[in-house]
Amino acid sequence: MNTKKRFLETAARALGAKPSRLTMRSTRAGVGGWDSLGHLKLFLALEREFGADFPANKIMRYKNLGQIYTDLVKKAR
């Protein structure tokens, strides 16, 4: 499975959303389960799935999935 698909599936599981409904442009306002708790569950899940570590001060600033994915890919390199 490619990283992008794995990323979207992990995000969907954490947010309780259908993977097909998520895109890189999805924002907090557009996804039902993406409230403040959902936001943290998203990062818990991504850190578990990809072994990444997102700094606390950055976690609160992300606006959409694309921004998170860009940083995740940078960390993986």
Binding site: L37, K41, F43, L44, E47, R48
Partner: protein, 523 residues
């Protein structure tokens, strides 16, 4: 479903589970309108994060006063748990032991704060049946504090664990409940070549085997020692080997062997598919395939077993022999055979099944009646005998085959039935010329004036086929007659596994009243 409470946000726990609002622990335990009382829960679990419970002193070298204060706060919490246990008996309650962070302001050897807190929890457990300690300390040791505990998510959302921490906690709670219910597995079926020793006996001969007290040969010897220790806890060992039996017997004479020929309750050494052999052994022992764990170094054999008998647990096998012991303990014993408590019957089980195998061979040569006479059975019934409460509860939990109603009770519930004047708990002890089997049957009868209801009636599969159940029923009727009971009502509730008991009530002289209901006049 497990209902979780705690002093940290537990929302990221694996589903299905119920999670109460965090930091409401006392309210949840004591308020009868809280979710712990109003939701149907199979079990309750309390996760107490040491960091959030102790706050600043988790990282300090607290003096005597602060230590005493923390201990008394924990005691207050446990008192509330005790109140809940009293109000909701029979619901298992899980609580973790506490692990202090490995970071402190002093480099001095840590004081005894952690030990004193955990002593409180263990002392509480000793006084309360149904209270189980979830070994968080073991998980932290195994996986590492940094991997399981998070400061970041605690700051951002009062979430104290990482996702790995939550997943480990969920899995451990489920595993602990399984072992509490006694639904662990009973038999370890092992391959011989490259499991009990390194190399192939048919190729290398006994002298060529890797099995010794030093270097990698010791890895196989240590694995055998671990298997032997497991066998002593009541797990049966079965040998499944594709070899000539004479070769394997030669290997068992190797001076470095730990396991002996007789440590195996059954052996199948031939060229038949291992799944067929395992199924035959299961029948001989009177167990289902779901009681078995199968280990084999060959991925082909593992796959064939998984396909032919999907209920058998088939763990992966390590390619590096130096990992054998650790793999065996963490991947085989811990998930499949761990128990919360061992009873005398558990410890005697291996011997008992070995005797059963001897008995069933004897049975093949004789007709049933002469076989039963030959056994020279001695039966003894006890009524409301408190020392047998634990075993009676275990029988209600574990017996699937000869069980009329399959009602499960824990020890506390059985004790209540024993104490109540409205019910009787009867147990049956069994002995024959091969040895003592201990308590093999139990029944719970509810009394109401001149009539009584057989609430639960079960017989261990170790003694099925010896008409022991009829002798037990006669004793039950005798006990009821002494109490001036005239009618005994009983039901048979069919399940996927209790067909063996379906004809029993009719055979014992009960008249069928409706689909499952039966009745008998006691004279």
């Amino acid at each position: 479903m497990i209902g979780w409470i705690g002093n940290t946000n537990l929302e990221p726990l694996k589903k299905p589970r119920a999670v109460a609002p965090f930091d409401q622990t006392m309210n949840e335990l004591l308020n009868k309108r809280s979710s712990l009382y109003t939701r149907p829960l199979d079990a309750v679990a309390l996760f107490l994060s040491a960091e959030d419970f102790l706050k600043d002193i988790a990282h300090e070298a607290p003096g005597r006063a602060k230590t005493a204060k923390a201990v008394s706060e924990l005691r207050a919490l446990l008192t509330a748990v005790g109140t809940y246990l009293k109000r909701r008996p029979g619901v298992p309650f899980l609580m973790n032991n506490l692990v202090l962070p490995p970071y402190r302001v002093t480099t001095d050897i840590p004081d005894d704060l952690e030990r004193r807190l955990n002593d409180e929890i263990h002392a509480f457990r000793a006084r309360h049946t149904g209270f189980l300690v979830l070994d968080w300390e073991r998980l932290v040791r195994l996986r590492g504090y940094d991997a399981l505990v998070s400061d970041k998510f605690a700051y951002l959302g009062r979430i104290r664990l990482t996702q790995a921490g939550f997943d480990a906690l969920s899995d451990e709670a489920e595993r602990l409940l399984r072992s509490h219910r006694g639904s662990g597995r009973k038999v370890l079926a092992v391959d011989a070549d490259n499991v009990l020793w390194g190399g192939e006996i048919g190729e290398a001969g006994a002298d060529g085997l890797l099995l010794s007290e030093e270097e990698l040969g010791k890895a196989y010897r240590d694995l055998q020692k671990a298997m032997k220790a497991l066998e002593r806890t009541g797990v049966l060992l079965v040998l499944l080997s594709k070899n000539n039996e004479a070769d394997v017997k030669r290997a068992f004479k190797h001076p470095m062997m730990v396991l002996g020929w007789k440590d195996f309750a059954a052996k199948r050494i031939d060229w038949q598919p291992k799944s067929e052999n395992l199924a035959a052994v299961a029948e001989e022992l009177g167990l289902g395939a779901d009681a078995f764990v199968f280990i084999d170094d060959s991925p082909v054999e593992r796959q064939r077993m998984r396909v032919s008998l999907p209920k058998v647990a088939v763990p992966e096998f390590p390619s590096d022999p130096s990992q054998l012991k650790r793999w065996f303990l963490t991947q085989v014993v811990y998930p499949h055979f761990a128990r919360t408590a061992l009873t005398a019957e558990d410890k005697a089980r291996s011997r008992s099944y070995a005797r059963r195998a001897v008995r069933s061979r004897a049975a093949q040569k004789l007709d049933t009646a002469s076989f039963l006479r030959m056994l020279k059975m001695k039966l003894r019934v006890h009524v409301n005998d408190a020392p047998r409460a634990a075993r009676a509860a275990q029988l209600t939990q574990r017996t699937n085959q000869f069980n009329l109603t399959t009602r499960r009770y824990d020890e506390a519930a059985v004790r209540r039935f024993m104490r109540s004047k409205d019910s009787l708990v009867l147990t049956l002890d069994y002995e024959d010329k091969f040895g003592k089997e201990g308590t093999v049957a139990a029944a719970i009868v509810k009394l109401k004036g001149a009539s009584a209801v057989l609430d639960d009636f079960m017989l261990s599969c170790r003694v099925i086929g010896r008409r022991v159940e009829h002798a037990f029923m006669k004793e039950i009727e005798k006990a009821l007659k002494e109490r001036r009971v005239r009618t005994l009502r009983a039901s048979f509730i069919p399940t996927a596994r209790n067909a063996v008991a379906s004809g029993f009530l009719a055979e014992a002289g009960f008249t069928r009243k409706s689909k499952n209901e039966h009745e008998k006049k006691i004279s």
